[in-house]
């Protein structure tokens, strides 16, 4: 087990190893669902939730079933199945019991199964030999880092609808150039600050 402190893991997860801008995980939703702040917030909320759940579930699965049985090579397939099932289950429960939450967050749930951010967080947890608390912390931190960037990006893109953009830049090219700027800001600002 790695002995990194929880605070360091948290800061790394949020800023230094930011999923979207530095690790390139979850970019599909980053360019797809950031057209307005509301959807971005909903998506991020769903990601934070599922990421935390998935980190917990996969840690338990990995440590208590796969490792004792020496079946680490099945980890990928079982993780993805567990995540898919988890997302589906959460969707069912939320839709039935908390319709208000479902309306604001639930429609983003199916997107998450194929969001590499969640599976990425789980795999990184396993690879970094994190313990239970560390895994969960990393899951939450990655989710928060994701949320921050999604909100910033969606606010910028929402504001960009007010200005004139060259027609060939509209849409994805502009999104990528914005991501370039955000990523430059993140890389330069956070990679030097000692934690």
């Amino acid at each position: 087990m790695s002995e990194t402190s929880l605070f360091t893991i948290f800061m790394e997860g949020v800023f230094i190893k930011n999923f979207l801008l530095i690790q390139f995980l979850g970019l599909c939703s980053f360019v797809g669902v950031t057209k307005d702040v509301k959807s971005a917030a909903g998506m991020s909320g769903a990601v934070v939730f599922v990421m935390t759940m998935a980190s917990t579930a996969s840690y338990l699965l990995y440590t208590y079933i796969l490792v004792p049985l020496k079946m680490e090579f099945l980890s990928l397939i079982s993780f993805i199945v567990v995540i898919a099932a988890l997302v589906q289950l959460v969707e069912f429960v939320v839709r039935k019991n908390v319709p208000a939450l479902y309306r604001s967050l639930g429609i983003y749930l199916p997107l998450i199964t194929t969001n590499c951010a969640v599976l990425g967080a789980v795999l990184l947890n396993v690879r970094s030999d994190y313990g239970f608390a560390q895994s969960v912390t990393f899951g939450i931190a990655a989710g928060i880092g994701y949320t921050i960037v999604m909100l910033m990006m969606s606010a910028i893109r929402e504001r960009s609808t007010l200005v004139s953009i060259p027609s060939s830049m509209r849409g994805l090219p502009q999104a990528f150039l914005l991501a370039l700027m955000l990523s430059m800001a993140f890389v330069n600002y956070f990679w030097v600050i000692p934690i």
Partner: protein
């Protein structure tokens, strides 16, 4: 300052049958009829309209659509004038009752400068007015028919009393502009109820209520910073009385009636002399030989006014009715002076600003300039892109159309025009959707929806 009657009688006058907001009047004359000064030629349909009187003697040439200074064509009575000065019998009424006063105002066709007939301002259906304000800030000191400043002050106060009586209001105030030394001095010379009048400034929390108490009087004269604006009324009400008018409501909803100097004077004349509203004082600007103010018969085309004052100083240019800030530029000088006309200005071509609009740089100068806490730059862009729903969410209805944003914009964007464009579109799209949002928790305004 004295203003002269226009020296030359125009060849023909164009009297629009709609000089107020609402439905046009029903014409009482037909082609070929002879009319005399003061004769009623258009009758109002209901209490929210205002009747129209002839300002000259002559013969009705036609009744047709003619240009109006507001920019569109309206049904107008065109009268060919003759030199006769025959008038109808004026019947002054001493000490009228409230009901009689309203009748007099209605029959005299008095209209506020913002287009609402005075009687419906003073006695709106189903609403109670408890304070009457005379707004002397946005239209100039219309001293035309007052020979001396004392007369002006006295008449205004008498007029205010009449208005208060007509509205059944207990309190009244005259609001002057704080940089208008002439008016202020005119009022400071007036004695009222044995006391010297004081012009009190409205600063910060010292709204008008403070002065009612402070001076222990029901009538006060106050002064405030100049504010412009077409739909200024709600803002003006808040500034003067501290009462917040919820969006979509009018000052009458919070018990305030706002009159202009002109209509106050007209009411005074209608009561004391029995004269209907057929002539008005307008100020002039930018002409070759230009007196600052003239007394003009309603219906006189701008062309005649300008010719009588020396004509145009240049071959082309910009002719503006009602002031540089909020006025309407005219594409023809065949438009008549109406009851709501206050000013005719002319800009030489070299003074006309033709800066090309560039993209908004988000400099936020308009945000700082806006008196009602809007974000004009964003409203302009949204309007430009046709996103009117979002304009509405950004409280575009609060805009008082003062034009400060367009004045200051370094990108020279036509912000005000865009905002008005959006407002117009919203009005059309949401005609049947009354505003349900109320910001006023205390007054329980009926139209707001608390």
């Amino acid at each position: 300052m004295e203003s002269k009657r226009l020296s030359k009688l125009p060849e023909k006058v164009i009297i629009p049958l709609k000089q107020h907001k609402g439905t046009p009047c029903v014409p009482l004359v037909k082609k070929g009829d002879k009319v005399i000064i003061g004769q009623k030629i258009g009758d109002c349909k209901d209490d929210n309209d205002s009747s129209v009187h002839s300002s000259v003697c002559g013969e009705v040439q036609s009744i047709e659509m003619a240009p109006h200074p507001d920019g569109n064509k309206v049904l107008s009575v065109i009268i060919k004038t003759n030199d006769s000065t025959e008038t109808v019998q004026f019947s002054p009424k001493k000490n009228p009752s409230q009901q009689e006063l309203i009748e007099i105002i209605k029959n005299s066709g008095i209209v506020e400068h913002y287009g609402v007939p005075t009687q419906s301002v003073l006695k709106p259906a189903g609403k109670k007015i408890d304070i009457v304000l005379i707004n002397a800030t946005s239209s100039e000191w219309v001293g035309g028919k007052f020979s001396t400043p004392e007369e002006y002050g006295m008449q205004m106060i008498d007029a205010l009393k009449l208005l208060m009586k007509a509205a059944g209001a207990s309190k009244g105030a005259i609001v002057l502009r704080s940089d208008d030394a002439e008016s202020i001095s005119a009022f400071e010379r007036v004695k009222f109820e044995g006391k010297q009048l004081q012009v009190s400034p409205l600063i910060g929390n010292r709204k008008i209520g403070y002065y009612f108490k402070d001076q222990n009087s029901d009538i006060v004269v106050v002064s405030q910073k100049r504010i412009y604006g077409k739909s200024i009324l709600n803002f003006f009400t808040y500034n003067v009385t501290g009462r917040k008018v919820p969006p979509g409501c009018v000052p009458a909803d919070v018990g305030v009636a706002i009159c202009s100097v002109k209509s106050a004077k007209a009411v005074y004349d209608a009561v004391n002399e029995g004269k209907p509203y057929y002539e008005t004082v307008i100020s002039l600007e930018g002409l070759a030989n230009c007196p600052s103010q003239v007394l003009v018969r309603i219906g006189t085309p701008f062309k005649d006014v300008i010719e009588a004052c020396g004509g145009y100083p240049a071959e082309s240019g910009k002719l503006i009715a009602n002031g540089m800030r909020t006025g309407v530029a005219q594409y023809t000088d065949e438009v008549p002076v109406t009851k709501t006309t206050t000013r005719i200005s002319f800009q030489k071509p070299e003074d006309v600003q033709r800066d090309e609009a560039i993209a908004c740089t988000h400099c936020a100068m308009c945000v700082d300039a806006c008196p009602v806490e809007l974000i004009p730059s964003r409203l302009a862009v949204l309007s430009d892109q046709g996103r009117f729903d979002e304009c509405r969410k950004m409280h575009i209805d609060n805009c008082i159309e003062c034009g400060e944003c367009a004045v200051i914009c370094p990108s020279k964007i036509h912000i005000l025009q865009l905002i008005r464009y959006a407002k117009n579109a919203i009005e059309k799209a949401y005609e049947d959707l009354p505003q349900k949002e109320s910001s006023n928790l205390k007054l329980g305004c009926a139209c707001g929806g608390e």
